[in-house]
């Protein structure tokens, strides 16, 4: 009951409603601008939330997350360029349908599917998060250590980059977390005499560098790209015939998206790809896919927005980010003094449900904007890159400075921008580095505490049932596909 009233309070707070409305507009703009996805947008906006109350700050970040994830579909359908990577699957059928003169219908299906996906996942979030929190109360250092190892192993299956490259990125991220004074012994590690690094690398400048500045350098390669647009008269809600065709697909993708979102380190991009391929697999008309199938649009869009709520489950309950954007939301929680984990659900239950309520409200707001202002937002995507990206540069360097008011953070952001750019050029995704950096401290601290618990006998971790379960899952996640491949090869 307390939970419901906390959620409902969001809908009666005029300031929060106005803030979410303004942030939804901003989120949709960020989503339609190619290159500026939810992760980059959240990284740039995090410093702007410094003076806000925790609920308002996290509401801003989570609204950016859900609205930008949806908005990527607008440009995917109208200009064949996904605004975010999560909307890449929407281009397969969205753009062909738009080319047939049915852009309004395509957008209508995308808006409705996204909203259903988003709302469904928030309902699951409200039910699953407290249940998982109850289980997480029982976790001790060995369980947390095993869980973080499982989270890191899941990096192998992030869509961008190969499994090995993602794991290398993850390990690099964990190593970054060792920079600074070691917590037990106070031994200075990799500081090279720079005492500003004593507390370790600050997450925000590293994230701004990895996501925003590296994207700026990636975009510098596409300055001369010509954008072709498809005319849009008005967005049309799906017809009865459309609903008959897509309702099963939407429900299936809601389940897929939420489940994939809950898995640590997986995100909306993986969810939309699987949602799309499953929609095709189960469709009565698979031959229509790729030529403008509404089922294809619904499958991808319901799944990517369902992943947003799902990804918040491990983030809030376990402190393990469910995606790149939730890694930033996690940092936002920490910056505002909220300790992610099971205790959040007893100590600050109001705050948690107000955040959930904000996400719900954001879903309804982007639905209204998608239906009535998609045409206007599509025009935003035509802002020339030579005007847009210098602004991103200014926001990034000032944002990096603002968190700790340290010029060192600006240089850290720029250095990680260059590192992120070259990593991406060589096929390494940057999200594993970010997730590794966040999980690094958890891994080391829980390993140290586990060793203390078991008098230095590390193998005793395996005797703890839950810890062993997570480690087996991690092993299967890493080696399962190879073992399965070898067995099927032998059988042939």
């Amino acid at each position: 009951m307390v939970e419901l009233s906390a959620m409902a309070s969001v809908f009666t707070d005029p300031y929060l409603i106005a803030l979410i409305f303004a942030t939804t507009i901003l989120g949709v703009i960020i989503g339609v601008l190619p290159g500026l996805g939810a992760t980059t947008g959240a990284a740039i906006l995090l410093p702007f939330t410094l003076t806000m109350e925790p609920v308002q700050a996290i509401a801003v970040l989570s609204t950016i997350y859900v609205s930008a994830t949806f908005a990527g579909s607008i440009t995917a359908i109208l200009i064949n360029t996904p605004g975010t990577s999560a909307s890449a699957a929407t281009t397969f059928d969205g753009y062909p349908l738009a080319q047939k003169g049915e852009a309004g219908r395509a957008l209508g299906v995308a808006v409705v599917s996204s909203t259903i996906g988003g709302v469904f996942s928030i309902i699951v979030l409200c039910i699953a998060a407290p249940l998982l929190a109850r289980v997480a109360y029982e976790f001790r250092p060995p369980e947390y250590f095993a869980l973080t190892v499982f989270g890191l192993s899941m990096l192998a299956s992030i869509s961008a980059g190969g499994a090995v490259k993602n794991l290398i990125g993850g390990v690099f991220g964990v190593w970054l977390s060792t920079i600074g004074a070691e917590r037990v012994t106070n031994v200075e590690r990799f500081m090279f005499g720079n005492y500003e690094l004593y507390e370790g690398l600050s997450f925000v400048p590293v994230f701004i560098g990895l996501f925003a500045i590296s994207e700026l350098l990636v975009q510098s390669k596409t300055v001369n790209k010509i954008i072709e647009t498809v005319a849009l008269k008005a967005v049309k809600l799906p017809t009865k015939e459309d609903y008959k065709k897509i309702w099963k697909t939407i429900l299936r993708s809601c389940g897929i998206g939420t489940f994939i979102g809950i898995l640590p380190a997986e995100g909306a991009t993986v969810a939309s790809m699987i949602g799309y391929s499953e929609a095709k697999r189960w469709s009565k008309n698979p031959e229509e896919f790729g030529k403008g199938s509404v089922e294809g649009i619904a499958g991808a869009e319901a799944a990517n927005n369902a992943a947003t709520g799902g990804a918040m489950v491990p983030t809030m309950v376990l402190g393990i980010p469910g995606s790149g954007t939730t890694a930033i939301i996690l940092v936002g929680l920490m910056v505002h003094g909220l300790r992610p984990g099971a205790y959040l659900f007893t100590e600050q239950v109001d705050t948690v449900y107000q955040i959930f309520g904000s996400m719900l409200l954001a879903n309804f707001m982007f639905m209204a904007m998608g239906l009535y202002a998609a045409k206007l937002f599509a025009r935003v995507s035509l802002i020339p890159r030579p005007t847009l990206w210098p602004i991103v540069f200014a926001l990034s360097v000032i944002g990096a400075y603002a968190i700790q008011q340290s010029t060192l953070d600006i240089w850290i952001a720029l250095i990680f921008g260059v590192i992120g750019f070259f990593a991406r050029r060589h096929g390494f995704a940057v999200a594993p580095i970010a997730v590794g950096l966040i999980l690094g401290e958890m891994v080391e601290t829980n390993l140290q505490n586990s060793l203390k618990m078991f008098d230095g006998q590390w193998w005793m971790i395996l005797t703890q049932p839950l810890a062993a379960f997570f480690l087996v899952l991690a092993f299967l996640g890493l080696c399962g596909p190879y073992i399965y491949g070898m067995i099927t090869k032998q059988n042939k």
Partner: protein
């Protein structure tokens, strides 16, 4: 050209070895403090050992399935990186906002916006607005420089 692609795993392997060597130089804490836990150097060494194993797998993958050729960076990319250095130089010698404005102007110009007034407006108005927002709303003080000295007095 293909040989160049091996540079990535070789670079990563050298980086990992360098980190191991640096870790070995870290101080050893007394047994009384560490107890049954591990030394500060152990965890980074463990991580880099894992990385070396992963890099070997990456090498093997390269032999089996050679990755596609990576195109060389274009001028605007290199110039944008150069602008980061210029920004650093201008920030430490003049003012952070002069650095931002100059870099924004040059970035806009080299990226294809040839109308000088558009670049100029962008380079002056954007940092100005951001400064006012951070200074008046978020109460953040920026580092001292030519312009901020005038503003702060």
């Amino acid at each position: 050209m293909q040989k160049k692609l091996y540079i990535t795993p070789i670079f990563l392997a050298l980086f990992s070895i360098a980190i191991i060597l640096i870790s070995l130089q870290l101080d050893i804490s007394p047994e009384m403090i560490v107890g049954d836990s591990m030394q500060a150097r152990s965890f980074p060494i463990f991580l880099m050992a894992i990385n070396l194993i992963l890099i070997s797998v990456l090498f093997l993958q390269f032999f089996k399935n050679y990755p596609e050729k990576i195109e060389l960076e274009i001028f605007t990319t290199w110039f944008s990186m150069f602008l980061f250095l210029l920004f650093y130089f201008l920030t430490i010698t003049t003012d952070m906002f002069i650095g931002i404005a100059v870099c924004m102007f040059l970035m806009g110009y080299t990226w294809g916006e040839k109308r000088l007034w558009v670049n100029l407006c962008n380079a002056v108005i954007t940092p100005g607005l951001i400064f006012l927002l951070f200074d008046s709303v978020l109460k953040i003080r920026f580092p001292r420089g030519l312009l901020t000295n005038i503003y702060y007095g």
